[in-house]
């Protein structure tokens, strides 16, 4: 796979994250690795960067958190998106989440339309 294939992998992951209500945009700094910046539009504190790079003896491509933790293989972008969201989503100390989740669910489509 080439660098462009890596970008394509990040693009696929971005689509998976968008489908789950997260924003994701690819950044291509000159001379550096292309990264996917991901963020929960409902909580701006939840953001991070993801890269795609080969890993392991087989050389298969993986998604990685930018802190060099592998997320999952690029052939499973949906699973990778779930891992990212689980890792970054801040567990609210109040365990009684039902009301809050319902409130967020109501506003999700509006917020998404504006953020994308």
């Amino acid at each position: 796979m080439t660098r462009h294939d890596g970008i394509a992998c990040l693009d696929v992951l971005a689509a998976q994250l968008h489908a789950r209500g997260w924003t994701a945009c690819i950044t291509m700094p000159a001379g550096r690795l292309t990264a996917l910046s991901v963020q929960d539009p409902h909580d701006r504190a939840q953001w991070s960067d993801v890269i795609a790079a080969p890993g392991g003896a087989t050389g298969d491509w993986w998604y990685w958190f930018s802190w060099a933790e592998r997320i999952g293989p690029v052939h499973a972008p949906a699973a990778a998106a779930e891992v990212i969201i689980r890792a970054l989503q801040r567990p609210m100390d109040g365990a009684d989440l039902a009301g809050c989740e319902a409130a967020h669910g109501e506003g999700r489509s509006d917020v998404l339309r504006l953020c994308q």
């Binding site: 953001w47 790079a53 999952g72 890792a87 567990p91 609210m92 009301g99 809050c100 319902a102 409130a103």
Partner: protein
């Protein structure tokens, strides 16, 4: 098309509305009479929207602030005579980590995070400090003088291979070249063995010669060379078969005693 400023204002307004609705829901629920719990051993639920546990000690941004109730570390004397305390990272260490990151040079941040990074997000700070110490462990080094964080090493177990873990080591710029990285890596290896991990893997920026040297000294083998990255692997020999690496202290023993 909506103007970006208008869009941002709408988002803020919507966010405030959602928070207000959630708070109203919380208050309505808390006003309801509660049934006594059948299982008395279950801890009471914490309040919604109270300060997150991982952020509570992080209110002060003063550099060098020692985390409250932080456990004592193991004192270590590095090869240049400087002293550090090495200990496990805990959730109260978010301020120390944020302060340490802020003091890293742009290059060091890039080497560590493989992308240009100006700050750690609150989600990342939580992720890096709220550890289970089994699948995710981190050891931090504190300057013995002012208590600031000067180095950190962590492993995170692979989800699909419990024998393996990704590792990363970061040393503050002005603490590099003193043997602190080797010290942290040796101790992290000991912790990993205790948790049943048999090999480390490390994804490193291709230009990161310092960490490449550190890994080579730890008998790492280069398993993958790609555009912009290198991947290394270290087989963790069981402790009883391993001699202490040259220049490293025995775990738990300060250098001056050797």
């Amino acid at each position: 098309m909506i103007h970006p400023y208008l869009a941002a204002a709408l988002i803020r307004e919507r966010h405030a509305t959602l928070l207000a609705e959630a708070e109203a829901t919380r208050q309505a629920r808390s006003a309801r009479p509660r049934r006594p719990r059948a299982d008395a051993t279950v801890a009471p639920r914490p309040r919604l929207y109270q300060t997150p546990r991982w952020w509570r000690p992080a209110r002060s941004q003063r550099p060098g602030l020692r985390a409250q109730s932080a456990p004592a570390g193991t004192p270590i004397v590095l090869r240049d005579g400087s002293r550090v305390l090495i200990r496990q990272v805990h959730s109260a260490d978010a301020p120390l980590l944020a302060d340490g990151f802020a003091r890293l040079s742009t290059d060091s941040r890039w080497m560590r995070f493989l992308t240009p990074k100006k700050e750690l997000s609150p989600a990342e700070l939580r992720y890096f400090t709220d550890l289970d110490h089994h699948d995710h462990e981190a050891l931090g080094a504190l300057d013995n003088g002012d208590g600031r964080g000067v180095g950190i090493a962590r492993f995170i177990r692979h989800a699909d291979d419990p024998d393996a873990a990704d590792i990363a080591v970061t040393i503050a710029d002005d603490w590099q070249g003193r043997g602190l990285g080797s010290e942290l890596l040796a101790r992290l290896s000991d912790r990993a063995r205790e948790e049943g991990i048999r090999r480390f893997t490390a994804l490193v920026a291709a230009e990161n010669v310092a960490v490449a040297g550190l890994l080579r000294n730890a008998s790492a083998s280069l398993v993958r060379r790609a555009s912009g990255t290198r991947e290394y692997e270290i087989a963790l020999v069981p402790s009883e078969e391993q001699d202490p690496p040259a220049g490293l202290e025995l775990p738990g023993l300060p250098a001056e005693r050797r």
